[in-house]
């Protein structure tokens, strides 16, 4: 199953790369995608059946808008902190507890947090995620968990789990 | 064009001096990576996309191997102690540089000015190659059709190097 999913994805990638409809290119693409699924299929997603569930794509599109908005907000926030003459920063590393189970959802959450300016995911150890933050709002775990990962976590749960 | 190239090559010279005089081997390797990636930009400006692609890939692989080697062993650079025969070495270096300079001068005087190259040897390659070989990329046509022997020898060198690496580095042999 996962091999088949990788086969489809790599074949689509090949067609986008070549962008031609001549028969030689199409047959060569089949061969290349087959080789890819033989070599790397074992290490792809464990349950690839999620690719054909349409409601996940719906939430993905909504999540893209939410992520863009949060990104713009965080950009202005960091720009304000940098341009302010007294530089009001309070950096530190917080430990956030994760509610997501699947490894890929955790990876995506970590990447979303890293791509938002001001926060960088340092590592994931067990069920905890260590995040470096440019301005620590509060020391209370419930408060900062909501502030760091609560914005994305529900959507990612709906998309990837 | 020439000014832009000169600036980039100037940066590359500074980076290579840094690489040679760095106190830490890891920073020397990173400075050498700067020289390699600067070369990629030079190739792009010189209209050689083939060379740019292969140089960027090969430079990355070289950096991986070098960093692995240095992290395995030591990364300290020792102080250069003054030699007894240092004067002789310096004189010999200057003599060597002078000889190189003379030959460089003779070689450069036979060339056309930069940017006004006349295609004496490869005139036939450029005009007739596409019809003869059917290859749109002229570099691939030259590489595999007109100069196949060169490329075969080059593949042999790579093959020999891989075999040599296995032979030299193996500690525990097969029982």
């Amino acid at each position: 199953m996962q091999r088949f999913a990788l086969f489809i994805i790599s074949y689509i990638f090949w067609l986008l790369l070549t962008w031609s409809a001549e028969p030689g290119s199409i047959i060569a693409g089949l061969a290349v995608a087959g080789l890819t699924s033989v070599f790397f299929g074992r290490y792809f997603f464990q349950n690839a059946g999620k690719f054909i569930q349409p409601h996940r794509y719906y939430w993905l599109i909504i999540y893209l808008f939410i992520f863009t908005w949060e990104c713009i907000k965080a950009n202005f926030d960091v720009a304000y902190r940098v341009l302010h003459p007294r530089m009001p920063i309070k950096p530190g590393i917080v430990r956030v507890r994760l509610n997501l189970r699947s490894p890929f959802a955790r990876t995506m959450l970590a990447n979303s947090i890293t791509m938002t300016p001001g926060t960088i995911t340092v590592d994931i150890v067990g069920d905890n995620m260590y995040v470096h933050w440019i301005y620590i709002v509060s020391e209370d775990p419930v408060e900062y968990t909501r502030e760091v990962s609560g914005r994305f976590e529900n959507y990612i749960k709906k998309i990837f789990e | 064009m020439e000014v832009m190239l000169s600036v980039i090559i100037g940066f590359m010279i500074i980076a290579s001096i840094t690489a040679i005089y760095a106190k830490d081997l890891l920073s020397a390797i990173i400075a050498q990576g700067f020289v390699g990636y600067g070369l990629v930009i030079c190739f792009l400006i010189l209209r050689a996309p083939d060379l740019a692609i292969i140089q960027i890939v090969m430079e990355t692989v070289t950096l991986i191997i070098m960093v692995a080697v240095v992290l395995d062993s030591s990364r300290e650079e020792f102080d250069i102690m003054p030699d007894k025969t240092q004067g002789v070495t310096i004189a010999a270096s200057f003599l060597f540089a002078l000889v190189l300079l003379i030959y460089f001068n003779r070689a450069i005087s036979g060339l056309d000015r930069f940017g006004n190259h006349t295609l004496r040897m490869s005139e036939a390659y450029v005009t007739g190659a596409a019809e003869q070989t059917g290859s749109a990329n002229l570099v691939a046509g030259v590489l595999w059709d007109f100069r196949g022997y060169d490329t075969l020898g080059e593949a042999t060198v790579l093959f020999t190097a891989a075999i040599g690496v296995i032979t030299i580095i193996r500690l525990v042999g097969k029982k």
């Binding site: - | 090559i9 010279i13 290579s16 040679i20 081997l25 020397a28 020289v35 390699g36 030079c42 010189l46 209209r47 050689a48 996309p49 083939d50 060379l51 292969i54 140089q55 090969m58 692989v61 070289t62 191997i65 070098m66 080697v69 395995d72 062993s73 030591s74 650079e77 020792f78 070495t89 270096s93 060597f96 190189l100 460089f104 450069i108 060339l111 000015r113 930069f114 940017g115 190259h117 040897m121 490869s122 390659y125 450029v126 190659a129 990329n137 002229l138 570099v139 030259v142 590489l143 100069r147 060169d150 490329t151 080059e154 790579l158 190097a161 891989a162 040599g164 690496v165 030299i168 580095i169």
Partner: protein, 112 residues
Amino acid sequence: MTVFILSFLMLLVGVHGVLTRRNLIKVVISLTIIEFSIFLMLALIGFISGGEAPILDAGISAGRMVDPLPQAMVLTAIVIALATNAMLLTIAIRLYKKYGTFDIRRINELKG
């Protein structure tokens, strides 16, 4: 003409490194710099100002193309450079395993 002289300067820097450094890894780096300067020199020789990349496409005539011959030469040379570099580094780490140092002079002293 400036670019030729600059790439020659880069070659001199590499030669200087090979002659004066005592560290094996530094010697490998200097050899790499010499190789880079020679690639650059060959690519500079083939350039035509205002020329196009040597790839036939619709709308590009064969008249104003840069010389493909030096590019093919440098293409093979880059791969050979990687192979020789890997070989040199392997020899260097085997020497390190035997003598415990990268210093050429100490390796010379500790014969056997």
